[in-house]
Symmetry: C2
Subunit: 448 residues, 2 copies
Amino acid sequence: MSTAAEASADLRGLALRAREAGRKLAAIPGRVRDAGLEAIARALEAEREAMLEANAADCRDAQELASRGELGLPLVSRLDLSSGKYERAVESVRSVAAMEDPLWRTQGATEVDDGLRLFKVSVPIGVLGVIFESRPDALVQIAALCLKSGNAVLMKGGSEASRSNRALADLIARATAAVEGLPEGWLTLLETREDVRSMLDQDDAIDLIIPRGSNDFVRYIMDNTKIPVTGHSDGVCHVYVDAAADLDKALQVAVDAKVQDVSTCCTAETLLVHAGVAEAFLGTALGRLAEAEVELRGDPRTCRIAGDGRVGEASEEDWSAEYLDYILAVKVVDGLEEAVDHINRYGSAHTDSIVTEDRAAAVRFLQGVDSASVFVNASTRFADGFRFGLGAEVGISTGRLHSRGPVGLEGLTIYKYLMEGEGHTVGYYEGDPPRPYAHRRLEEEWRA
Amino acid sequence: MSTAAEASADLRGLALRAREAGRKLAAIPGRVRDAGLEAIARALEAEREAMLEANAADCRDAQELASRGELGLPLVSRLDLSSGKYERAVESVRSVAAMEDPLWRTQGATEVDDGLRLFKVSVPIGVLGVIFESRPDALVQIAALCLKSGNAVLMKGGSEASRSNRALADLIARATAAVEGLPEGWLTLLETREDVRSMLDQDDAIDLIIPRGSNDFVRYIMDNTKIPVTGHSDGVCHVYVDAAADLDKALQVAVDAKVQDVSTCCTAETLLVHAGVAEAFLGTALGRLAEAEVELRGDPRTCRIAGDGRVGEASEEDWSAEYLDYILAVKVVDGLEEAVDHINRYGSAHTDSIVTEDRAAAVRFLQGVDSASVFVNASTRFADGFRFGLGAEVGISTGRLHSRGPVGLEGLTIYKYLMEGEGHTVGYYEGDPPRPYAHRRLEEEWRA
């Protein structure tokens, strides 16, 4: 067992090696990165048996812990790569390879003056630290996204999946090392919590931490590092049924948002209903939700409409609760502004939806609700990189810098400015006499 | 004098008020924000005398401190708003007003399926904390950029400019309060260092800190807050003269980069010269730089070429020094890769330039140098929001998230996802049987 100081020094070495590797990845052509992805996919196919064996060993241990009640059964099933999950992981690597190269894309070009052109082009962020939950297929997907976007990555998975993760990380490193032009050291698997703690200290060597997992875990990461963190701790999402709602659509959206999958961060946790349609809507909706075995916790007006104690009384805590369960808080509001204020106050800036046929109300909600994803007449459950068409996601951000909402390849890039001149000097423009800059917008793309 | 806890509570109240105001600013039309800017410009014109009087009082105090040697003379001149600087500040407000509205611009649109459209649109970041140096005109420019981009702002200026800042902040608040639709509380002037310390603790209420000023000050801010910081502490910029350089252009660029203004963050601090052209280039260049009164500190090869002790010996510290003075470190390198490695190792990821006629060398430098701005055949001094054509800048970022290089209006925005459907549910697509998403790229702009 190494001391904390040793772990920290080791980790620093790994992070600096990752920086080097990342710089090389950034500058190699997209086809080389894609060749690396294809090499990973092929190696995963060739070594399928060994990978599933390592995974089976993890699963057996987890089963045993679960049988003693020391591990939840959902975790055991997330761990298991058999029955199609392994094949889907291979497929996801190829689908990432098939995506457009996110690097060296021109985001803007300006002719500053004759012969002096400025380009804003996309480049990788650099070195990422990704800490993910117990799904070993997540390791494959994150590695694929990082390689495609030219980022080096330090990864730490759930300890229950340690054999699977080690086998997969080793396979990926070997497969890409064999590809001409790909640097070594772009992917490092961390294996101890001490490594993670050391990683959180390396704010000058790691550019971004992406933690995935439970609220408490993400909160712990956010509270214990100066490195920027992309992710979310809570998902307190709302459906608001407006006075001008089509009540059939409202029912459809509210039920889907709550029960299509109760365990996700974009599941609705609170239903807000305009007073003008509360009787009509809740009359049907409460029954339908109860049929779906959803426990309801209402404000006094909701309880009154429901009658007979069918709806429990919501406490102040319910308005900011992320149940991740068959529970829904319900509140009657007097108008759109009250709904917007409620969401901005109690929500988690993740995803919120209005149901309305009134365009002005829709626009006010879209502009006024201060969340990463704001919907009209659509279930909050759509807030996901795959559903958005981003291809794949590394996570969902409720932060307000760099990336918001589902984060795909584009969220793993930043830009740099490239300027090409012919010996241009500032003195020429800002000397005596000063000469004006032209600043003409160019449609030109930067080409290597 | 309030206690630290009181200051902290007060500051929190101001930050939460700013959040409210920011949410309102985000949703009002661009023409109302522009009307606010015009109101500020007019008030600045109408109250010119009172403003310059407050400024004159600050200048008198500063002069007195300077005469006792307690303040540098450059600071006194930065403080002074007379002789055109006040008028230029008014002009800058109008030029910000004339810029395109940075908000609610569509960055991408996808038809997820029939009747279900997803838009990625630009929105303000939210609440900014800006700490700026002793130029009171900076207050006016920052306020204008924040209002235009819909951000609320807490500001703290240099204490030497306290009267000027108070007068200007008060004028701006009054002028915008009189504009129908503009919220109060979007701009708050902080007056004590205690306030700044309290601000740095409000990581759940303030979204971004932008510190401007000395390296030590910026480093202090970065080290003492969990709020993301946009800015730079160092500017260690390089000019690399390649084997294939046009030596006339090289001389022109190197001299401009060093002496056009020695006090800026994009001033060159180190000159790297390819060994193949070192004799030819340095033969002329060292003389020209010496004529411009630049003290030279060279590596052994440079010293040998210079001969006669004309160039001092550089120490290891010189390679990472930001002189901000008439001093230049000079090193002969054996090739492009050594130059790239040197810059990535000793530089500050700010701005670096290669002089070469060889396209392959230029591309390798542009892709390999890991800095915010990388130039070919152009002086490092071009790294500036105005010269880039961004209109105005709030600062220059050497970070790798959200914004890099000169940060203008666009750097003060983030995006959110807006989705508009017709009652769409995820269960429909991901139920039994699953149905595919369409994910067609749309050219459509989102419209309120």
